[in-house]
């Protein structure tokens, strides 16, 4: 299948955005993909998605980001989208302690439904609301280290660290992928090389995946 020229990329990385409702997942996504912060943003029903193609470690990467609804009631639907994701951005709101407390629940969700080698990054959003901060950076930092997660604080509103957060997780995914394809022991399950285009899907042998080069 020939991609349109504007569609050319070396890698396709699927990443999911998860975390409690209202922490700013959808706005982080719109900030990253369209450089927009929408004051009139609506709650996410089920799952929405957006893409952006960018340079990561000198490679062209198409980031395909699935933004999920935060309410627990939607878990049955949203968790269906974890499959095949190479990265997860787990967002909490630095002004709302409960959203931070719930991070462990979300980690459990990922362990139950996502691939075991998924790259996870913890994001504390809304740092612009300085006077309302209720979760200390250090606490989150400590927690992230304990759980082996990458960690960053962002503000979707002020566009602080948003680019950096996505860059970091995409680079990390890239490193893991390229390491895997180098080591001849394991067949790189998550990458399929096809001429100029390397497409990355889930490690499951699902040939019907989006990125397969059929047709």
């Amino acid at each position: 299948m020939a991609r349109r020229p504007d569609e050319e990329y070396d890698y396709l990385f699927k990443v999911v955005l998860i975390g409690d409702s209202g922490v700013g997942k959808s706005n982080l996504l719109s900030r990253f993909t369209r450089n927009e912060f929408c004051l009139e943003s609506k709650s996410t029903i089920g799952v929405e998605f957006a893409t952006r193609t960018l340079q990561v470690e000198g490679r062209t990467v198409k980031a395909q980001i699935w933004d999920t609804a935060g309410q627990e009631r939607y878990r049955a639907i949203t968790s269906a989208y974890y499959r095949g994701a190479l990265g997860a951005l787990l967002v909490y709101d630095v002004t709302k302690p409960t959203t931070f407390e719930n991070v462990s629940r979300w980690l459990k969700e990922l362990r139950d439904h996502a691939d075991s080698n998924i790259v996870i990054m913890l994001i504390g959003n809304k740092t612009d609301l300085k006077h309302l901060r209720a979760v200390a950076t250090e606490d989150a930092q400590t927690y992230a280290e304990k759980e082996g997660l990458a960690f960053i604080e962002t503000s979707a509103l002020e566009a602080t660290n948003v680019e950096k957060a996505f860059q970091t997780i995409l680079s990390e995914i890239y490193r893991i992928i390229s390491k895997k394809s180098l080591s001849s022991e394991e067949p790189a399950p998550a990458s399929i090389k096809d001429g100029k285009t390397i497409v990355v899907g889930g490690p499951e042998p699902n040939t019907k995946k989006a990125c397969c080069t059929s047709s």
Partner: protein, 624 residues
Amino acid sequence: MNKTGAEDLGDFYPIRPECQADTPKPRFKPRAGKTLSERRWNAAFSEDGHLNIEKVLRRIQRGGVHPSIKGSVWEFLLGCFDPNSTYDERNQLRQHRREQYSRWKAECQYMVPVIGSGKLITTPIITDHGQPVIDYSITDDKGQQVNSSFSDKRSIQWMLALPQIGLDVVRTDRALSFYESEKNQAKLWDILAVYAWVDNDISYVQGMNDICSPMIILLENEADAFWCFEHAMRRLRENFRSSASSMGVQTQLSTLSQVIKIVDPKLHQHLEDVDGGEYLFAFRMLMVLFRREFSFADALYLWELMWAMEYNPNIFSLYEKPIAESDKSAAPMLNNKLLKQCGKFERKKVKTGCKDQESALAVFLVASVLEAKNKRILKEAKGLDDVVQILNDITGNMDARKVCKEALKIYKKYLSKFWNAVVSSLSTLADSDLDLSFTANKYSVRMEGNVIAAALEKIEHVKSPEGEVLTMPFLDLCKTVLPVLDNFGPAMAPAKSDIGGNISRLENMYLSNQSEFNHLYMIVRSEIESKKAKSSSSCTNALLWLTRAMDFLSELFCNLLAHPDWSMSHVALKLAPDRKKFMSVVGVKGDDVSDMEKFSGRFSPLLEENHKFLASVGMDNLKA
């Protein structure tokens, strides 16, 4: 701004100036002579307040409702009120409901004083265990939103839902000037909170705010808005039901999958190939009824078209009856007068007397959206993400009326194709490629009496002494055996609806001139003469399809007789009950199949005669 003949909707649903650029422009415009206007609406009431719903529905289905009267029209469309009531009766009911709402709200207020205060909350007020949460940003009192701890599960569950409602309310339709007002936001919060309290089974699920928001804009009185929302939820609430492993809306999604599989197998195959066979990408459309795909005004237009098409004159009494009773009367037969008071979609559906939630018009609306994008999806969608992308692009670009019109067409196509597929799969006994099994666990045996004996008795009288097939006795016979289909569960409902429709079409023709149409074939002859026979709405067509449907049943009986080991796995229809059960419900006791043999032996030649006649006049090949 836009002053091209039709009225500007901006006056009704003003958009905040700073949001104009990002908000899709409404396509709906009230049109003189098509849209239900205030004047026509008022004229549709008799002096004491009876509403001519038939007339009103016709208008709405053509051009929607003028924004100035939407609220009161919706109250009827959603079944809050009976068109067959007087002003006085309705006022009384309204008063009664307002009081009921006040009582519920007071219960809520007692637990959480913020309710009704014009403010709302977005952070937890109690812990999972019912202890009050101290919020230091609240300066008054003790920093608590609740005064005591709670231990009963219902109260705790409800209070845990409140912050989610708040988080969503502040993100609901914020582009509309209406929701700039904190008071209006609080109203939305209050209504959703009271609803979550009353319907504690469903409580609150994200998306219900999108359904409720228009009601508050259209109905000034808070209690009235609540009841309008509550009635809308009666249709939608099953979609919002959730468990750890699934959500209610997935039932509609499987119906959607079945519909596309039948009307557009190529598209369905393609969607399966890109891992979209579950149709989860249509999730949001069904949950919030296209609120996100259409502009505000267009979504309202779509909703009223949809509800008008789905309107059933019994809706009010069904809703008002106590639960226990409404089960029995879930399928009251509608006479012709009442049938005319049904919306276009409902009319087709209701003739069966079967009321299944899963094949709501909304499902066919999604099908119609997918069909509109069929070419692009087939050509461009290499992955599920592309499908989502293509569907994202429809935002603000679809015409509500066209979508509805196409949806009805797809519904008809579905009915006829479904039927064809069933007939052919059964007669060849090949394994059906229709996977109807998802409905299998739902079927229930509902038939009473001895069908076969009754049918056998009736078949004696189908022919005149001269050997002519008599119209009414034949139709009567068909009606007698029709309930057999009930045993196949809701999957057969569309087919049954179709048959019911054909029977009543023929019946009406007979009633229009009993002496001329006493003989069944005279109806066909007369249509051929007036060149109407080939139309899809002709009685000739009805007779053909009715006969084919009866072929199916006849085939079924033959099959039962030929295969004593007949079982679910044997027959293509995975949803059929097992032989023994089936035999017992059609009235065969023990293994005494003699009645069935007798009936079968006479029924198929009779049907064959119909086919021969239709073939002799060149009408045995019509498309549905």
